[in-house]
């Protein structure tokens, strides 16, 4: 067989056009990621899936696999770098896990556990973005948003509604609602939209459903994300 490459020494098959991430997921090998969801076009914003491919540092979600490629993923150096990226995400937002209803089933938190992050250690930004609670069924806490654009992609590519976008530059970049008032209630968003269940963190949440799963039984309470898989996959199942 021709189409194969090495991932941490393991032979991984791929078909033409597949990325390193696609092939790794198909082979059951975990590469940490936040903005990647196999249902949508790769985004490349979180940089968590950074791997070394033939000695170059690349995002596994956007880099096509190629014949004979040598890829390093689970190295000490890469885990340290990922921990640093996670710390940056934690200090940029208000990630008060003890008071977040997504705790225990949050991909940001789970990847941080997986990468061994004990504390964010940088100076906290403490952003002051107001919660949007205008919608009858859903709520958005913009201070937990990691700008993965999964809701943007889902609302554009799955629903053709284009409810969400990212607005602003640099550290001012933030999730925005495409309605005349800027409020979620004035958009065509509904809780049955694909975009309502792709958020990997506690930014877009259903109302009146918090804390309904006992501690110990939440998604990542017993086993790490490398075994359990992504949040979006489980949110999809929970809704069915």
């Amino acid at each position: 067989m021709n189409n194969q490459f090495k991932l941490d020494g393991i032979t991984v098959p791929f078909s033409a056009g597949e990325t390193i991430m696609d092939a790794a997921l198909a082979a059951g090998i975990y590469i940490p990621h936040l903005c990647h969801n196999p249902e949508f076009k790769p985004h490349g914003s979180c940089r968590l899936c950074t791997v070394n491919a033939n000695g170059r540092t690349v995002a596994a979600c956007t880099t096509p696999a190629s014949e004979g490629m040598e890829v390093e993923n689970a190295t000490h150096e890469l885990t340290t770098q990922r921990r640093l990226l996670l710390k940056l995400l934690f200090v940029e937002g208000n990630h008060v896990c003890p008071a977040c209803e997504k705790s225990g089933a949050c991909q940001l938190q789970a990847v941080a556990y997986h990468c061994g992050m004990l504390a964010p250690e940088f100076v906290h930004f403490y952003p002051k973005r107001a919660v949007d609670a205008s919608h009858p069924e859903m709520i958005i806490d913009f201070n937990r948003c990691i700008l993965c654009e999964l809701c943007v992609r889902a609302s554009r590519d799955s629903d053709n509604k284009n409810v969400f976008s990212i607005s602003g530059r640099g550290i001012q970049a933030h999730l925005a609602i495409n309605s005349t008032s800027g409020k979620l209630a004035d958009s065509s968003f509904t809780s049955s939209d694909k975009a309502a269940r792709v958020c990997p963190v506690g930014a877009i949440l259903p109302k009146h459903k918090g804390y309904n799963i006992p501690i110990g039984q939440r998604l990542y309470d017993q086993a790490p994300i490398s075994q359990v898989g992504d949040v979006a996959k489980h949110q999809e199942l929970a809704d069915e």
Binding site: V96, P98, A99, Y113, H124, Y126, Q222
Partner: protein, 179 residues
């Protein structure tokens, strides 16, 4: 494990929950106190922190007195540990950083429900609040972080046990959580 190590503990802008989690170590505490001698701590009557091997700090920094105590601990302790979510990132108390300090004080002491003789306390005995709540690592160097709100007794015990025995500090998956 020869001579006991000196340990000081403090709660800054904490809820004492991390100290309760230390006590949750239960009967293993009896073994532990054979190897530990407590200095200043809410569990002892010592008023000023002296030279210590280990300092355990719970709570973030929310007022001037917290800063003073934290700096004294840093001067006296060889290893200083941030215990719990508040010490690590400000925790739930840092949610007040969403509002101005004036708004918080006015809501609590002037405009809140059922307030008699509204006035903001201003006696010099009282430490002034800082504009924002801060993690302790923004004030002094921290050597180790124990996450959790609170960290479980098991996590704290593992940390102390491995530190005392000089083994590398390693936690099981379930021992590390931020909530």
């Amino acid at each position: 494990m020869s001579s006991p190590i000196k340990v000081a503990t403090a709660s800054l802008a904490g809820c004492f929950g991390c100290h309760m989690s230390i006590l949750d170590i239960d009967e293993r505490l009896i073994d532990l106190v054979g190897h530990i001698q407590f200095d200043r701590s809410p569990l002892t009557d010592i008023k000023k922190v002296g030279p210590c091997d280990l300092g355990l700090i719970e709570g973030g920094v929310c007022n001037a007195e917290n800063v003073e105590v934290l700096k004294a601990f840093r001067r006296q302790c060889k290893i200083l540990v941030a215990v719990g979510a508040c010490a690590i990132n400000g925790g739930v108390p840092a949610m007040r950083n969403q509002y101005s300090l004036a708004d918080c004080l006015e809501e609590a002491y002037l405009h809140g429900a059922g307030i008699d003789n509204p006035q903001i306390p201003n006696d010099p005995e009282l430490p002034l609040l800082l504009n924002q709540v801060h993690p302790i690592h923004e004030v002094v160097w921290i050597d180790y972080f124990l996450p959790g709100c609170p960290p479980s007794a098991d996590t704290i015990f593992t940390f102390l046990d491995e530190l005392l025995s000089g083994r590398p500090i390693q936690f099981a998956y379930q021992q590390i959580h931020y909530d």
